[in-house]
Structure formats: C-alpha cells, structure tokens
C-alpha cells in the first residue's frame, strides 16, 4: 500500500505525499467519542471483474493518479467534460467503452494520436495505446466503424483527419 501511496501523489500533482490519507478499520469501539456506528464496504464492480483475464486486465492496475491526463495532448486540448463520462483522459478512453459499450464509446479510443506519452508516464505501466488499439479492433470487427472512416482506411487516408471531417462525437446514454 505504501508504495502506491508514494506513487499516487507524485504522479498526480508532483507533491511528496497526499495531503491527507485516512485508513478506516471498522466502526467505533466502546468508549470512542466519535466514529461511525456501522461500517460497510461496498464493492462497485461495474464490469471490472470481467476484465480479469481479458485483454484489458492491465487497466485494472490504474490508481487514478491522472498522470496520463496531465501529459495527454488530446486531453489538454479538449478538457475532461468532452469525454462525456466519469473517467476522462487516456484511462477513460479505455475504461469508458467497457462501462457503456464500444457501440456508444467508440469515439474515445479513436480520439488518440497514439503519441505514447500516457504510457511513458504511467506509474503502474499500463500500456494505454495498446488497450485503445484493442477497442479500435473491437469496433472494426463488429462492423461499427462509420462508413466514411472505413472507406478512408481502405483507401489509405489518415484516420484522425477523416474522423474530424465527419464530425463524429461520442454517443452517450441520456443523462451522462
């Protein structure tokens, strides 16, 4: 745990350590003046356990430090809200399609220059470009790639420029 606490703040904001960490071990004991009466641990799976053993397993190492966002030229240009869901930046481009489906989140792994900065700064060495490439392959294999980019790919044109021209945007469920 201490290793990851060290990595977290240094990779996130460049601080030596997070300003405040609390480790909770249970409800208040007899005689305690404060603390919770009950202590519950809620496991939010949301598809994560299905990533174990899949080609996306390495994504589960993410400690949410945001180093990938800090160095991403796409994130720097468009900002967090453009990602349309909980997780922005390169790590969001890998996680979000898992949560909402590649049918709705395909624009995210496609909106990458694959410059590789995210992978090079990741403290837990997640190969983010490789994982985004898996999503692109998944989209293509399911015949979800829009016609124009698919034709452009077949004709050998650059993908990002054509994608931009088509004006494609992520398609998210209402309310997210």
């Amino acid at each position: 745990m201490t290793l990851f606490l060290r990595l977290l703040a240094r990779s996130a904001t460049g601080q030596e350590f997070t300003v405040y960490n609390t480790l909770s071990s249970g409800p208040r004991r007899e005689g305690d003046q404060d603390g919770p009466e009950n202590f519950h641990v809620v496991l939010v799976d949301n598809g994560r356990s299905e990533m174990v053993g899949s080609q996306f397993q390495e994504m589960l190492r993410c400690i949410r430090c945001s180093a990938c966002m800090n160095h991403c030229p796409v994130y720097g240009a468009v900002g967090g809200h453009s990602y349309g869901w909980v997780y922005p930046g390169p790590m969001g481009s890998v996680l979000t399609p898992k949560m909402i489906g590649i049918e709705k989140g395909a624009a995210l792994p496609n909106a990458s220059t694959f410059c590789g900065k995210c992978e090079s700064v990741c403290p837990v060495r997640i190969p983010l470009p490789k994982l985004m490439r898996h999503w692109r392959e998944d989209e293509f294999s399911k015949h979800l790639t829009p016609k124009q980019p698919a034709m452009a790919l077949a004709a050998g044109h650059s993908w990002p420029s054509v994608r931009h021209c088509t004006g494609s945007s992520p398609s998210f469920p209402a309310g997210v």
């Binding site: 201490t2 290793l3 606490l5 060290r6 030596e16 350590f17 300003v19 405040y20 960490n21 609390t22 480790l23 909770s24 071990s25 249970g26 409800p27 208040r28 004991r29 005689g31 305690d32 003046q33 404060d34 603390g35 496991l43 799976d45 356990s49 299905e50 990533m51 174990v52 053993g53 899949s54 397993q57």
Partner: protein, 185 residues
C-alpha cells in the same frame, strides 16, 4: 452483483478454482510476513539526520514548527501561538500526556471533546513523524477522537523527537503493535 459473483468472475478470469488449504496458507503467510517493497533511500539515515529531514519536509508542506525543550513548555507555547492567530479557545485530546500538564496559566479556553463545526483549533499528540515526506501519523482512540484531526481549521500536534522515523514502513510496523485503531491517518 454479489460479492460471490465478483469473486467467481475474478477466479474465472485468473483460471483458478476454489483455493486449497495450501494455497490459502501461502496467501496468509505472505500477508503475515508484511514484507517491505521498495523503500526510498532518502530517509534511510541516522536518526539525527532523519530529524533534520523531517523538519525540512514538514516546512516544505507549509507546516509551522515550534521546538520545545520539554513537554512542560507546551501550554505556554500553545497559548502564545493561539494569541498570534487571535484565537481564544481550542479543543484538546484527553490524552494523558496532555492532561498531565499545568494548563492553569493558559488564557485561551480549553475543552476536551470531539470536534464540531466552527472549532478553530485542536491539540492532539502524534503517534509518529515520518521523515521521508514530513508526514504525521495519528490514530484514533477514546482519548483522541479522529474528528480532532481534520475538522478544526488549525491542528496543533505534539510530536516527540524520539517518535520521528525514517519511512512509512517503520511507522506501520510500530502501528501494528498497538491495539487496532478505528482510523489511522
């Protein structure tokens, strides 16, 4: 999704069955061993240098240090500091270390209780100081409720030089020797 389903998914993903007694024992042994991971060289120093490193890192983290020759000087030091901040009251842990001091000459009002909204200053002791990053480690207990640590705007913390350790790993090991706290921070 239930916990059992989540665990089943993880086992399936890892290609594992229900663990055997031997496998369980292997995991339990590993957890009990509490083996250290990579420890930064920065704080692996003789204690006098660890103290200097602690001071330097704490100051860098915007803490204010007041060095005392003895714990008996604490009430006057607290009173002076509170006066410079225009504060005339503070809440205090009912820690025997603090309760045993002579607070009679202190002008600021002192109360021993949990923190509430609006409290401006709290005084507690600290279990350990960690030189590596200038961090204070505290744990909750009946005489030092955890709200004192984070509710009031100002937190005055007593730390003995002897309790300054090099790295977190040393502090966790010391922490493991005391009764289970509800929170450690």
């Amino acid at each position: 999704m239930s916990r059992a389903e989540i665990f089943a998914n993880i086992r399936r993903g890892l290609g594992r069955e229900i663990p055997t007694d031997e496998q369980r024992q292997t995991v339990q042994n590993r957890l009990r061993a509490k083996a250290d991971n990579i420890i930064p060289a920065r704080a692996q120093l003789p204690q006098p240098q660890q103290i200097e490193l602690f001071k330097s890192m704490t100051t860098e983290a915007a803490a204010e240090l007041i060095e005392l020759d003895s714990i008996e000087q604490l009430p006057a030091a607290c009173d002076n500091w509170l006066a410079t901040q225009n504060l005339n009251e503070f809440i205090c842990a009912s820690d025997p270390q603090l309760a045993g001091l002579d607070w009679s000459a202190v002008k600021a009002a002192k109360e021993e209780r949990v923190a509430q909204v609006g409290d401006m200053a709290a005084l507690t002791t600290s279990f350990a100081g960690i030189a590596e990053t200038g961090t204070l480690m505290l744990y909750s207990r009946a005489e030092s409720p955890t709200t004192l640590n984070f509710l009031p705007d100002n937190h005055l913390v007593v730390l003995h030089e002897k309790d300054i350790l090099g790295v977190y790993e040393e502090a966790w090991k010391s922490c493991a020797t005391i009764a289970r706290p509800t929170t450690a921070c």
